[in-house]
């Protein structure tokens, strides 16, 4: 009975919870990718020189799988050499970081509609405001000055093609 009681805590010490989750997710991805390799078009041996297109990815997937199986226990070896794998992830992801990720994803998703110039302006407005920049003079000069600089440098001087997007509609 005594042994049964201590078993979970020993197991807990053996596995790193976060690394175990990572390992499970990665193993699931490997299984999915392996399945994908079985669906690759079949090529005659003569044509593929006996090296079918799935061979190399499958070798890689197997090696990665072998390494991933060690990940949940790796913290034990790292601790012995004075390294703490949990130091960077001890705190949850900050709200400001999640918000930043959402804003940038939304901007990129709407960039084809907005066009390049408006997308640049959208980034210049939304990120500083979201991050708490409230100095009006600074904001206005940044929102006008920086996109203008970028458009002149990349579109006019370097000749990068900027999609007009909404601006084209307004023009017409």
């Amino acid at each position: 009975m005594k042994n049964d009681k201590t078993a979970p805590s020993n197991l807990g010490a053996l596995f790193n919870k976060k690394d175990t989750i990572i390992a499970i997710v990665m193993i699931a991805m490997i299984a999915f990718l392996w399945f994908e390799t079985t669906k690759f078009e079949k090529v005659p041996d003569l044509f593929s020189n006996n090296i079918p297109p799935e061979m190399f990815p499958q070798i890689l997937l197997l090696i990665i799988l072998g390494m991933i199986l060690i990940i949940p226990f790796e913290h034990i070896f790292l601790k012995k050499s004075g390294k703490n794998i949990d130091s960077a992830r001890s705190k949850p992801v900050e709200k400001s970081t999640i918000g930043t990720m959402i804003i940038l994803t939304a901007i990129i998703a709407s960039s084809q509609l907005l066009g390049a110039a408006l997308t640049i302006i959208a980034v210049s407005i939304s990120l500083p405001l979201y991050w708490g920049e409230r100095r009006l003079k600074v904001l206005i000069s940044y929102i006008i000055g920086f996109p203008l600089f970028v458009i002149v440098l990349f579109n006019i001087i370097l000749g990068v093609h900027f999609e007009p997007g909404l601006l084209d509609l307004l023009k017409n």
């Binding site: 990815p57 900050e94 400001s96 980034v123 920049e133 940044y142 990068v160």
Partner: protein
């Protein structure tokens, strides 16, 4: 010597000099801006250098790399936050010296030691290059495969906390490299019926995402961090008497840095730390270390810049980079149609010497720029993060988009940024993934060719002594954590 002259001749065009000096300026600026790094700047620069002549493009990036290593010491000295990892040891004595009211002296010591270290390593390379070129005669597909396997094994010690996670990152990079149409058979692999994936995932948006966008996410966690900044009015060059006192420290560290830089996958950071430790060990004033010792600045600075030059040797001669920056320079070389490795030196020696010439100019350039612009660079550190990082994101978007005028690449960049952020939180480094992605095609191609040549008999590869040597080195590299522990116990 004829090749050296030809190489330097390539640089003498006005446009090339301007581009090298721009690289120096960007490098020092990026170094002086906390959070920005040379790999990030090189990643952002790559798409815009496609249309340039390869000499001009690579020279600019090499100059940026050299100057960025020095630039990192500006923030290390003025705000006690190394702008780049190689400057971590410089902060130990640079910041106390700046706090003691001598920021200009600290910057001057860092600049002169960096210049000396950088030039020292370049001279060594000029003599070593012909010997490395002879290696090329021994190389066929099997040898390239052996070399690529060795390069991948070296990813283990590239950066980060865990060798295992570095290797996984590297192999995932190689796996990403298999996406798209298989060159030999024309079969689509991992394309999931998405037309944009047929040509594979290009490394430019991936590396912009991994180096710039993921850093933006990291910086968004500490937007309101307050740092104490010391303003430098001017960079003050050390006197001759002071240089005389420091000559052995600088020479020793330059030697250490060059040697460590040449070792594949050992970068400037390791060199700087060893340079600092050795400076302390040989110093007569050990007590002054940590309180603003000039040797504590000269030692790591000479070592890290010497290592920057030294690291270009395995990058160019073997295709094995020692750091994020050299990995990106390698990527740029491949993009410009070069195949880094032994043939690069034997077939295009003037190109290789031109790169080293550019690094030489860069070393002198950042001393000059530091002399006239120290005050400006110390002010640069005051640019608010809330305005700086949106600008970085805009450059990232334009860089990813302009590469192939494709919005798909912008999505790849964002995805790489998100993946890079979570990788970093969980101890997986980005640099090995990029390296894997860059080396991936070479690994598969040389593997296939070797197997065809040897009738699919893997063990026949070992008949080549060079392949055998690389496999032994791979084994030693992967087992190093065990045998170093074994010997340290003894």
């Amino acid at each position: 010597m004829e090749d050296v002259a030809k190489g330097l001749g390539l640089l003498l065009e006005f446009e090339n000099i301007i581009l090298i000096l721009s690289g120096v300026l960007i490098g020092v600026l990026v170094g002086a801006l906390p959070g920005l790094s040379s790999p990030m700047a090189i990643a952002l620069l790559i798409p815009f250098t496609i249309s340039l002549d390869p000499v001009a493009a690579i020279s600019m990036m090499a100059a940026l790399y050299c100057a960025g290593t020095f630039g990192g010491s500006i923030t290390a000295i003025l705000i006690n936050a190394p702008g780049a990892p190689p400057a971590v040891a410089t902060a130990l004595d640079g910041y106390p010296m700046a706090k003691n009211g001598e920021p200009g002296r600290a910057l001057g010591l860092a600049a002169v030691s960096s210049v000396f270290g950088g030039i020292f390593s370049l001279i060594i390379f000029i003599f070593a290059a012909p010997l490395l070129a002879k290696l090329a005669l021994e190389f066929g597909p099997a040898e390239y495969f052996g070399l690529a396997v060795f390069a991948l094994s070296m990813l283990a010690s590239m950066s980060g906390k865990s060798s295992l996670r570095n290797l996984i990152s590297g192999l995932v990079g190689v796996l990403i490299g298999t996406i798209g149409i298989h060159l030999t058979t024309g079969v689509e692999r991992f394309t999931f019926d998405i037309p944009d994936l047929e040509e594979g995932i290009h490394f430019v948006p991936v590396l912009i995402g991994l180096f710039a966008v993921s850093e933006l996410f990291k910086q968004s966690e500490k937007l309101n961090a307050i740092v104490e900044r010391i303003q430098a009015k001017a960079l003050r060059l050390p006197s001759l008497a002071e240089l005389k006192k420091l000559k052995y420290t600088i020479l020793r560290s330059s030697g250490i840095g060059t040697f460590i830089g040449i070792l594949p996958a050992e970068g400037s950071t390791v060199a700087a730390i060893i340079g600092y430790n050795e400076a302390r060990r040989w110093s007569k004033d050990k007590d002054k270390f940590g309180k603003g010792s000039p040797e504590g600045i000269a030692g790591p600075e000479a070592a890290n810049n010497a290592a920057a030059g030294g690291a270009m040797v395995p990058t160019l001669a073997l295709g094995i980079p020692g750091s994020g920056s050299t990995a990106l320079i390698l990527a740029a070389l491949i993009m410009h149609g070069f195949r880094p490795g032994p043939y690069l030196i034997s077939e295009t020696p003037e190109f290789v010497y031109a790169i080293f010439g550019a690094m030489l100019i860069a070393n002198l350039g950042f001393l000059f720029i530091g002399l006239i612009g120290a005050k400006f660079f110390s002010l640069v550190a005051f640019i608010p993060k809330k305005l700086l990082w949106p600008a970085v994101f805009i450059f990232s978007m334009i860089g990813s988009y302009s590469f192939a005028s494709s919005m798909f690449d912008v999505w790849v960049m964002l995805a790489a940024g998100l993946v890079g952020y979570f990788m970093d939180r969980n101890g997986f480094s980005a640099a090995p993934l990029v390296m894997g992605l860059i080396l991936g095609k070479l690994v598969e191609e040389s593997f296939s060719q070797s197997m065809i040549i040897h009738d699919n008999n893997f063990f026949a590869l070992l008949e080549s002594p060079v392949v055998l040597l690389f496999f032994v080195l791979t084994f030693l590299s992967l087992s190093s954590p065990f045998w170093t522990k074994f010997f340290s116990k003894k």
